[in-house]
């Protein structure tokens, strides 16, 4: 969507506007980080290593797709429960398939239904009960975490089917594993949904001015519920893929996705206030974050340190975009 930039009069302005596009910024940063990584630790930017990074980015990117939709819908839309849904889906899928390829299809079905169900509850809470999304989905995260302990009784269980693991890590087409193709497919589907369907137009409309959207006859509440449901489904799909990636599930595997999924969306040019932006930027944002994470690991910064860096990144982004918005206004 090139709706952010006004037609500029001079070529210099046009170039500047181009450089200010979040997607362009993200791509430049990706190249820069790859170079830094290679400099810090030779081999960082090798094809095999980049492929591994892309798989990890795909997992994050799929979660961020749902997050992106919820944030685009505006009214402080945010889904903090994605991490819980990722974990739940990983456990459910592991137990349903339990190492057998025949269980993959039932597992997909179970995961999609469970993800949609939790999304539905989030959506209903936010629209009909008028609970702020932040509070609603944070509460849901708490419920999910409790549920995980109950289901598992503290003991890890369930194994990924070989087919699923192959899909995530083994080359499938043109040397790329299935998950990368899935991610690209999701990217295309998201672009189509947002730019070529009436539903997509509605998402932007309610995100930019909910009251005006209502007065133009749009089903504001149904649309918002659908966004939360989609977020649940995307998180569940990511949970399944994560199981394939790691082979078995462990405690709270999905926890690591809550903050990064939000950062990827904002990095990609969708402001937290919603109503503008798109998924292409978010995809770049996901790659960028995974790169950053990897570099931090390379220089021996542990999980706690990475969390701090991510938190600070989000706050810095808010400052950056908040200021840009104030200048436009």
């Amino acid at each position: 969507m090139s709706t952010d930039a006004l037609p500029s009069r001079s070529a210099g302005n046009a170039a500047l506007a181009f450089l200010k596009k979040p997607l362009v910024v993200a791509l430049i940063l990706i190249v820069l980080l790859l170079a830094v990584g290679e400099w810090l630790s030779p081999g960082f930017a090798s094809p095999g290593q980049i492929l591994r990074l892309l798989i990890v980015a795909a997992l994050l990117g799929i979660v961020a797709a749902g997050q992106n939709l919820v944030i685009l819908g505006g009214r402080e839309g945010i889904d903090l429960s994605v991490g819980g849904i990722v974990s739940l889906a990983a456990i459910l899928a592991g137990n349903v398939m339990n190492g057998a390829d025949g269980g993959i299809l039932p597992a997909i079905l179970v995961c999609v239904i469970v993800g949609a169900l939790f999304g539905l509850i989030n959506g209903v809470g936010v629209t009909l009960l008028r609970i702020p999304p932040l509070v609603m989905t944070l509460g849901m995260l708490g419920v999910l975490q409790g549920l995980l302990v109950v289901i598992r009784n503290g003991i890890p269980s369930g194994r990924a089917a070989p087919g699923l693991s192959d899909f995530v890590v083994q080359p499938f087409l043109l040397g790329l594993p299935g998950i990368i193709w899935l991610w690209l497919l999701i990217g295309l589907a998201m672009a189509f949904l947002l730019r070529r369907t009436v539903f997509g137009y509605r998402v932007y409309a309610i995100g930019s001015n909910e009251q005006a959207a209502f007065m133009a006859g749009m089903p504001v509440k149904t649309t918002r519920v659908a966004l939360f449901m989609l977020s649940g489904v995307f998180a569940a799909i990511a949970g399944m893929c994560l199981l394939g990636y790691s082979g078995s599930s462990f405690a709270n595997v999905g926890e690591q996705y809550m903050l990064p999924s939000i950062i990827a969306v904002v990095l990609g040019g969708t402001p937290l206030s919603g109503g503008k932006g798109g998924y292409t930027g978010t995809m770049a944002g996901a790659v960028l974050l995974v790169l950053l994470q990897s570099i931090l690991t390379t220089v021996h910064i542990d999980e706690a340190g990475r969390q701090m860096v991510f938190g600070a990144t989000l706050v810095a982004l808010m400052l950056f975009y908040g200021r840009a918005k104030a200048m436009r206004g």
């Binding site: 037609p7 009436v198 930019s208 009251q211 005006a212 006859g217 749009m218």
Partner: protein, 499 residues
Amino acid sequence: MSELIVRGARKAYGATVALSRGDLHLKPGEVHVLIGSNGSGKSTLCKIVAGSVKPDAGEVLLDGKPVTIDGPRAARALGIGIFYQELSLAARRTVAENILLPAMPVKGGIFVDRTELEERTARIIAEFQDVAGEGFAADVTVDRLRADQRQLVEIMKALASEAPILIFDEPTSALDRAQVDRFFEILRRLKQEGRAMVFISHRMDEIFSIGDRVTVIRDGATVASSAIAETNADEVIRQMVGEREALSAESKPPVPAAAGEPMLSVANLSGVGFRDVSFTVGKGEILGFGGLHGQGQSSVLRAIFGASAHHTGAIEVGGKACAARTPAEAIRNGIAYVSGDRGRDGTLTGRPILENVTPIHFLRNRLHLARPSVLTALVEGPLKALKTKFQDIGQPVNSLSGGNQQKVVIARWLIDRPSVLLLDDPTKGIDLAAKSDLFQLIRSLAAEGMGIVLYSSEDAELLANADRILVFNSGVVTRELQGEERTRYNLYHAAYEAA
């Protein structure tokens, strides 16, 4: 005792002159009525005196000495208290705290003196206790009060300031008879104490029962000031209308269109802010809604459009019953609605022009896919018909001027034509050129057979464009003006008489 004189006060907001020459001579021991039509500048004059608006020119004399009132605090120090039309209460605080908010009794420099607070507020509340109604007490928070009770709190707040000069900007709009009577008793007592009071009201009966003097403001200038005993309601209305009445072209009624079959029929519509409203709009007719601001005109239009669900009565569009609970249903039944508050109800801020024009087309054709190239071709016609100025269909709607933004919002109704068009003060805050484009379009839409309802807060606009006018007063239609009756005088007369 204070005597207040305002001379030649002027205030402009950009190109809009809110007050061009405001004069006021307020004497101790009088209730001085200020009257003028919508947007004539009364409130601006009051705000200048209260220090919340800084005048561009003019002088204010207090007891003969020129003073500068550069803020509400300065006004209070000079002994000026004000009742604001837009209620300025702290919703989560109690009645007592709100009453003494401007001058909290303090002990020891920082602590609120609770005993003093209770004693002083008890005295003030006692004066209204028997007319305040259920649930009114010193320790109740303001957000739990009814509209009339909140207005009483606002009055008490002004009274508690014990200022020698008190300004009441429409203090009685929500009050019932008994509450108004009690308020007037208190005003009479204050008058005897020698205090000076400015009183703004749109109810002629109130003005003549409490006022001592009346000053008329028209188009931002003070035009007359006379003792109440020496004037009457007719003369006051004539002064508000001005000399233009006789010669102005604007009030010359347009050729009445032959009203065709009914497009919209409303019977006994009642809801929040209006009751028992009935009317019919014929094919090709422009029906005007007139009267003062907020007398139920907007609420009726929004109810028909399904934007507010709680109402009773029957609505028919083209002979078929249409009880729309949401705008979507109303739109499917062929109703269109354009709000004057386009920032709230109209524009999808930050989105391209294209996306701002398409929603109604999607809805009425039950579309699921959006093809930008097809849509662009589709929206160009309506945008051109409205003479909308823009560079690119993809530019954000908020990069346009106010008038052009409103045109974009209106264009969304022109791809698939509705049978009924509801215009809720559609020209609010837009430039003259855009206004004239708009009314040209409205007239041609009527000629094509649409039934149109036009509410306008600008009387001139209404008189120039409506074939027939319903005058609203306190939520009911008090008069219907047809043909030669459509004059400014008749409009004001119906708007200002007691409902």
